[in-house]
């Protein structure tokens, strides 16, 4: 049964096991530095479907199927699918799993959705409500551009702090028992709004939320940041990353080389024309369920703090002149055997 420590941290006494994961990404991500870790790279942005929205749904569906195949499981083994995306009303996920007869929890945490999904899945398993859950999120560059920005063919320039929404999906299967890294702690963030109003500067908007959750996690668990081999934020991009490092240092925490950001890892910032890096629910999900999981399974790293960050805005609220509320959830993944 889960217990609490400190102000915001949940300790999982029967830590759920990450029995496997898979990621499917688009062409641009497939040209990036993590290409060899992804399970599939799709060249067609429509993924054989008639619209970008449908393509994103198919990304989710295929990623789940791939993950189940890799783990030798079937959909009927699942007690929950916990999924979300960036489309209005979380529809990529709802449409993706409408034919899968598994209890479905649709969630929205913007780019933090993967960590939110893992949190819910882990608590359900630790509490005995489920034996196995699938945690899966996606984003699609084209459907996100359409919803949050301009039509694709509209000629415009990006601002120097803009990020590039990742086309991709990542899935992690959690099980009560099995082989693999386990989730030991969860620190779910509070909503932090530091008054940033520029929707093209989400890294700066989200950095304080990431800082708050990381500091809270360290304080609640009594751990030092050196405890982790890798601390990963989910898509702050290069500018947000630099601000987070500064905020952490101001609070006496030296993240050092163990810290990186999924948005900076999935693309080559110099050559891929993505300005500050990747973003979107699919970004941190794809990096975690492929690259990070593989490093953990190979025991190259054993303790990872995964801190996915989300900018909880909508175009309507931004147009009404409000600032961007942000969140960060920390999930502690560890090889304990």
């Amino acid at each position: 049964m889960s217990t609490r420590t400190g102000k915001q941290t949940v300790v999982l006494s029967n830590p759920p096991v990450v029995i496997g994961g898979a990621a499917i990404v688009g062409k641009k991500e497939g040209d990036g530095p993590l290409a060899r870790y992804f399970d599939q790279i799709i060249d067609d942005e429509y993924f054989g479907e008639k619209s970008f929205e449908k393509a994103e749904s198919r990304l989710l569906r295929d990623t789940l199927v791939k993950t189940l195949d890799k783990c030798g499981k079937s959909a009927s083994d699942l007690h929950f699918i916990i999924s979300g995306d960036l489309q209005n009303q979380c529809t990529a996920a709802s449409y993706a799993f409408r034919d899968v007869q598994v209890p479905f929890l649709g969630i929205y945490g913007a780019c933090s959705t993967m960590a939110e999904s893992l949190s819910i899945g882990a608590i359900l398993i630790d509490g005995g409500a489920a034996e196995m859950t699938a945690c899966i999120t996606s984003s699609h560059f084209c459907s996100a551009e359409k919803q949050f920005r301009y039509p694709l063919e509209f000629g415009s320039q990006r601002t120097p702090t803009a990020q590039w929404t990742v086309t991709g999906a990542g899935c992690i299967l959690l099980e009560k028992q099995g082989n693999g890294p386990v989730i030991t702690h969860l620190t779910n963030g509070t909503i932090i709004d530091m008054g940033i109003k520029d929707a093209n500067n989400m890294g700066a908007a989200m950095a304080p939320a990431a800082c708050d959750t990381i500091l809270r996690h360290l304080e609640d668990t009594g751990r030092n940041i050196d405890y982790y081999d890798m601390v990963l934020t989910g898509d702050l991009g290069s500018f947000g990353r630099s601000i987070l490092i500064r905020l952490l240092k101001d609070n006496g925490v030296e993240p050092g080389d163990r810290y990186n950001d999924c948005g900076c890892m999935i693309f080559d910032l110099e050559s891929q024309d993505v300005v500050c890096g990747g973003s979107g629910c699919g970004c941190s999900a794809a990096v975690l369920s492929s690259y990070v999981l593989e490093l953990m399974n190979q025991r190259k790293i054993n303790k990872v703090l995964f801190v996915a960050t989300g900018a909880l805005l909508s175009p309507t609220w931004i147009q009404q002149g409000d600032s961007i509320p942000c969140i960060a959830h920390a999930v502690s993944l560890e090889n304990i055997q």
């Binding site: 008639k50 619209s51 359409k146 301009y150 039509p151 694709l152 063919e153 509209f154 000629g155 415009s156 320039q157 990006r158 601002t159 120097p160 702090t161 530091m194 008054g195 940033i196 500067n201 700066a204 304080p208 800082c211 708050d212 500091l215 304080e219 500018f239 630099s242 601000i243 500064r246 905020l247 101001d250 609070n251 500050c276």
Partner: protein
């Protein structure tokens, strides 16, 4: 956070450390792109004049040709690249206006011809039309009053 930083302090930190816009590069690219588009239009205009088309018709036809070119280049997935390079230099000429109408029309076609193409076509150009027409009415009124007074 452990060490409280105020919203004001944070905004200041962000503004101070934000990567700057490449102003000189953007201005030059806009100048070259906008200039090139206008030079192409001028070639059409002079060509028509040399063929004996009267000035007013040549102006009108040049505009029509440039709008057509903007639409075709948008359809061929080229105008977004010109816009990305040239910024305002690509969006201010009439080709950019054409791009701003054709691009949402293409994107929202999946939502049907009425609620998709029809309703979303003026998503970006709408404000330009509204305030453009409004400004021309105001300018017209001022001109009319000026004539009456003089």
């Amino acid at each position: 956070m452990s060490r409280k930083i105020t919203q004001h302090e944070y905004r200041h930190l962000v503004e101070k450390t934000m990567p700057p816009s490449r102003v000189l590069r953007n201005v030059l690219a806009a100048f070259v792109t906008g200039g090139l588009i206008c030079a192409i239009a001028q070639i059409f205009f002079m060509g028509m004049e040399s063929l004996g088309v009267d000035e007013e018709t040549a102006y009108m036809l040049t505009t029509v040709i440039m709008i057509f070119l903007g639409a075709v280049l948008t359809g061929l997935n080229i105008y977004d690249k010109i816009g990305k390079f040239g910024g305002a230099g690509a969006s201010i000429p009439v080709t950019g206006f054409s791009n701003s109408i054709v691009s949402p029309a293409m994107e929202y076609k999946k939502e049907g011809y009425v609620m998709g193409v029809g309703a979303k076509m003026f998503l970006i150009a709408g404000p330009v039309l509204v305030y453009g027409i409004f400004a021309s009415v105001v300018a017209g009124l001022i001109y009319y009053l000026w004539i009456q007074v003089m």
